[in-house]
Amino acid sequence: MTHSGETTVAVPTGALGSGIRAADMKAALAAGAHAFAVDAGSTDSGPSYLARAVSKYTREAVKRDLALLMEAQVKAQIPLLIGSCGTSGTDAGVDWTRDIVLEIAAELGWSPRVALLYSEQSRAAIKHKNAAGRVRPLAPAAPLTDADVDACEHIVALMGPEPYAAAVRAGAQIVLGGRTTDTAVIAAVPLLRGAGTGPAWHAGKIAECGGQCTVNPLDGGVLIRVRVDDFTVEPLSESNACDPHSVAMHMLYENSDPFRLIEPGGVLDVTGARYAAIDRRTVRVAGSRFDPAPYTMKLEGAANGPFQTIMIVGIADPAVLGDLDAFAERWTAVLYDRARYGVGDDAEFDISLRLYGWNGVSGRTPSPGTPLPPEVGVLFVATAATQALATAVAKACNAAFFHYPVKAGIELPSYAFPFSPAEIERGRAYRFVLNHVVEVDDPAELVRVAWAEPSRREVAAGA
């Protein structure tokens, strides 16, 4: 491809599976987009998806969005790039998305060339890199240990734009990537076509959540036009708008540093960026810089945690509401007693009471004079190494949780419990483990590439 002076990328949603609109796809085609780029992943919803390598969205929801993208693609014959397939960007997430894409291709009677980029890492590969001194902690993490690596169920390395650009250059019409920085998926085609690095990366950041940078984030996706020295961003929906404030504000969103964003191969620096409206719905951004740095890939890893069983009650009794903190302390002590009686003194478990309506979110004692609530909801959480033990703790606490009186000598109350059976087995808790980067000699060093042919369902070597 040659540099045409401007590269237009449509980002119809901030998350594949959250609901692309047909009208937005029509607008993208009318605008002459050179590519569609969509991020399918995030760590926002917690470590469960990476630990289990499953998608947050249903297959049906992802298929509906992909079908809209691919139908538009058949008309426009432009590349479709999907990053962080299957929420966490594991190999299983890429394969899951590939199967959906091939199913849609068959339904459309179309045979696109589909590139698959895998960036999940084996424990051995990461330990090897760490032993070579090429894994560094990011604040607030400590240096990586083998035990950290062994704890992880899945480890992914966040790709930059290079593997996407290489796949498009090699003729891919659809690129399905494992874990990738949100920005890189969107910046890849502009960078490939010769756009400025500062504008391309900054446009990627601004568009990464779709309509989040518009005045009405619920009204569809966005379109970026990236040039050598600047870029513009506008909503795909005619009824929506970007203004300089809505666009500049997006650099604050979910960023711990609003000026500098560390990416594979460099740092996006928007300290000097200027945002100006060029019409009632389009903003031009100039002055962003990308400073190259030694190539690193961020690592994400998630581990299995203990199991939890929960129970819920509501309390409207004014005697309890007037004495919540002291009551909760006595109640917790009694629940521990009952649980120990039920499961034995040697069993390891934790009981946590969370008083919603009082301090369920913060867990801290409210300041004196805080008005009393009309009622509270109390969440009981038993945590233990097995589901059976967590449930045994909950069952042992059943009577004390539902009937513990606020003082001695009164008839036993019954707090409002909504479910029968009362206890709910909620499965495992999970935890994020890695907060590190790995240095690589080449952007493709930790990336495996394969091609999926719609006519032949098998995949080439490397999958």
């Binding site: 470590p47 993490a141 604050l252 969370r354 999970y430």
Partner: protein
């Protein structure tokens, strides 16, 4: 002394990756922003006291163009573990609203 809820137009918090929380404090105009931009009540010690974070790692960014002060701090527990109560940390900012500002710098 005024409280944060009296002088800020909007205060919000959000996860910034699994290990950080970021808080944005919005002021209505340049004058109010400059009055409170460097207020010690929005300093590291407050975040250490309220959220159990390490004061030495708290980062503070004044955004003069937007009349926003941004404060980022490491979560005491990574997002989503067994003790999690606020997955997106989206409710944490509200606990700052009663902070008293305007102490001498």
């Amino acid at each position: 002394m005024p409280k944060l809820r009296d002088v800020a137009t909007h205060v919000r918090s959000k996860n910034a990756g699994p290990f950080w929380v970021t808080v944005d404090v919005f002021f209505a105009d340049d004058r109010t922003y400059r009055t409170y931009r460097d207020d010690p009540a929005l300093g590291a010690a407050t975040f250490a006291r309220m959220f159990g974070t390490d004061a030495a790692q708290v980062k503070r960014f004044p955004l003069d163009a937007l009349n926003v002060v941004k404060i980022s701090y490491p979560r005491p527990h990574p997002q989503g573990g067994a003790v999690e109560r606020d997955m997106h940390a989206g409710q944490q900012a509200h606990y700052l609203l009663d902070l008293e500002l305007g102490s001498p710098i």
